[in-house]
């Protein structure tokens, strides 16, 4: 288990100190895929670097399996880092080493004998499906292949935890999908606890069990992915779910409802029936369908005309249909 307690990170700068993280409390359970989402500059990359102490917190504690990293002597910390794998947006492979030598690197650091290291590296190459590129150099690989090598390298020392810092942000959608599938597979078959940092909601929906939403250096909300998706409590979460949601406010008046369809509800023509039932035109301002853990989840932002009694009728209809909805302000 990874525990973060009362963590603050303040960077000194010429224009006075900048608070990157404020009062962060988190617990990440063994075996889960935990997502941390936020817009750029929210502090999520700093947070993930505080987990393996690449960034030293200004105050607060980081505990991995009950042992406090912040109190630990440097030598001990280096050993703990060998049990926490990490992958990056820009892959960060050693450019002058072959794929095989890259995967051997953490094993060299862990003082594993050369033969054992090569055997282990080959095992991992098979897992990530790059056995045939063993002797290639990173510059000869595509982005997706590079990230696969980085994943193999991060797993070489059989770590319990894997930190992913925007690991799919530099990849195209298809490649992103295959990397996410691979991470999910690693989580289920090897039991590796995965911490995913991203600014893309889609990444969170596809593989995460729980999510923490970060905004303005704080955790805005934290919970089950489905729960956060269904009824986001914070502005930050709402913004991430409804991209450009804010810009609509300035253009239109009227009453807005955010409808969430899940499972079976998403297969019925709810909005068409709403129009017929309430005898009113509605304006669909945003609509989206997502697949969370194999289940269909959709959301729609509707605007209703300002007409007496209409809102009540619409709400009654939606309640009767079992659609989850919230009134957006």
């Amino acid at each position: 288990m990874i525990e973060i307690r009362g963590l603050n990170k303040i960077f000194p700068s010429k224009n006075g100190p900048i608070t990157a993280l404020r009062d962060i409390d988190l617990e990440i359970q063994d075996g889960e895929i935990f997502g941390i989402i936020g817009l750029s500059g929210a502090g999520k990359s700093t947070l993930v670097r505080c987990i393996n102490l690449l960034e030293r917190p200004t105050s607060g504690e980081v505990l991995v399996d009950g042992r406090s990293l912040t109190q630990m002597p440097q030598k001990e910390l280096l050993r703990v880092r060998q049990t926490i794998g990490m992958i990056f947006q820009s892959f960060n492979l050693l450019e002058q080493r072959t794929v095989l030598q890259n995967i051997c690197y953490p094993l060299e650091i862990a003082k594993v004998s050369k033969n054992q290291a090569i055997a282990r590296a080959k095992e991992l190459l098979e897992l990530v499906g790059l056995t045939d590129r063993m002797l290639s150099y990173p510059s000869q690989l595509s982005g997706g292949q590079k990230q696969r090598v980085a994943i193999a390298r991060a797993l070489a020392t059989s770590p319990k935890y894997l930190l992913c810092d925007e690991a799919t942000s530099a990849l195209d959608p298809n490649t992103t999908q295959s990397i996410l599938d691979l991470l999910k597979e690693i989580n289920t078959t090897m039991g590796v606890t995965i911490i995913v940092i991203t600014h893309e909601m889609r990444v969170i929906e596809q593989i995460c069990d729980r999510v923490a939403v970060i905004g303005e250096s704080r955790i805005a909300e934290i919970g089950d992915v489905r729960e956060v998706f269904r009824s986001p409590q914070s502005d930050v979460a709402r913004n991430l779910l409804l991209p450009h949601g804010k810009s609509y406010e300035t253009v239109t008046g009227g009453t807005r409802l955010r409808l969430v369809f899940e499972g079976e509800v998403s297969e019925r023509p709810i909005i068409a029936n709403l129009v017929l039932e309430c005898q009113t035109p509605v304006n669909i301002m945003f609509a989206d369908m997502r697949d969370i853990d194999g289940k269909a989840y959709g959301q729609t932002l509707l605007e209703l005309p300002d007409e007496p009694g209409l809102l009540e009728r619409a709400c009654a209809y939606l309640n009767a249909q079992g659609v989850h909805f919230t009134r957006e302000v």
Binding site: R79, R81, F88, N92, R97, E108, L163
Partner: protein
């Protein structure tokens, strides 16, 4: 083109051939020793610098200051100023031994800066990845920084060698030998223009050969080049 009697005399007595050889060996020995001093110095400068893996501001500033002082003195002046030091180290302030000492003193800080800039080119992301994998600072230096910077280090070595070769020619003025001294004593002082030009052509040839061999090695070692 007609050569003067002077050239024929110099060639027949083997003075020009010897000059070529002396230029080459002075350059190579000075470069080698300058690297022995400059390599660790450059590594320390990059590691302890701002944004290095182990910043030590006072040490960095101190070394940077010494390096800057030595680098800002024109070589002709430094050479003369360092003759007492040469005498202290090799027992004489005359001849090639003394010249080599002054060359090393002038070249080592130059080499250190070259090394520092090569090391600083290494992608910080790669260093961060190495840290995340639990590498110690020492491991990062010899397993990441030096191997990753290797092509740039080799290119830097070529440039340093050529610069030192240029310095070695100036050493002709304080009693060093080689092509520089031949150009000064036989060409300039006795107004034999052809001797000067022959020395120039020979120097250019040596530089070209060093450059060509060095760049080939650098290109061959660089795995970033798509094949």
């Amino acid at each position: 083109m007609m050569f003067s009697d002077m050239f024929q005399k110099l060639w027949a007595s083997g003075i020009i051939q010897l000059g070529v050889w002396e230029t080459i060996y002075m350059t190579l020995i000075s470069t080698a020793v300058a690297y022995l001093i400059g390599l660790p110095l450059g590594l320390v400068l990059s590691v302890t610098g701002d944004g290095g893996i182990r910043p030590i501001p006072w040490l960095n500033r101190l070394l940077g200051f010494v390096v800057n002082i030595l680098r800002s003195i024109p070589f002709v002046i430094l050479m003369i100023a360092m003759l007492p030091v040469a005498k202290f180290i090799v027992g004489t302030s005359l001849g090639n031994k003394a010249v080599i000492v002054t060359l090393i003193i002038a070249a080592a800080p130059y080499v250190a800066r070259m090394i520092e800039s090569s090391i600083k080119e290494v992608d910080p992301g790669i260093i961060e990845a190495a840290q995340a994998m639990g590498s110690s600072n020492f491991q990062i230096v010899y397993k990441v920084l030096i191997p990753e910077a290797k092509p740039s280090l080799i290119t830097g070595a070529v440039i340093s060698t050529v610069t030192i070769l240029g310095y070695s020619a100036m050493a002709g003025t304080i009693g060093g030998t080689g092509l520089g001294q031949i150009a000064i004593t036989y060409g300039y002082q006795r107004s034999k223009t052809d001797i000067i030009w022959i020395c120039v052509v020979l120097t250019v040839l040596i530089v070209q050969i060093i450059q060509e061999i060095g760049m080939r090695i650098a290109h061959k070692t660089d795995k970033r080049v798509k094949q």
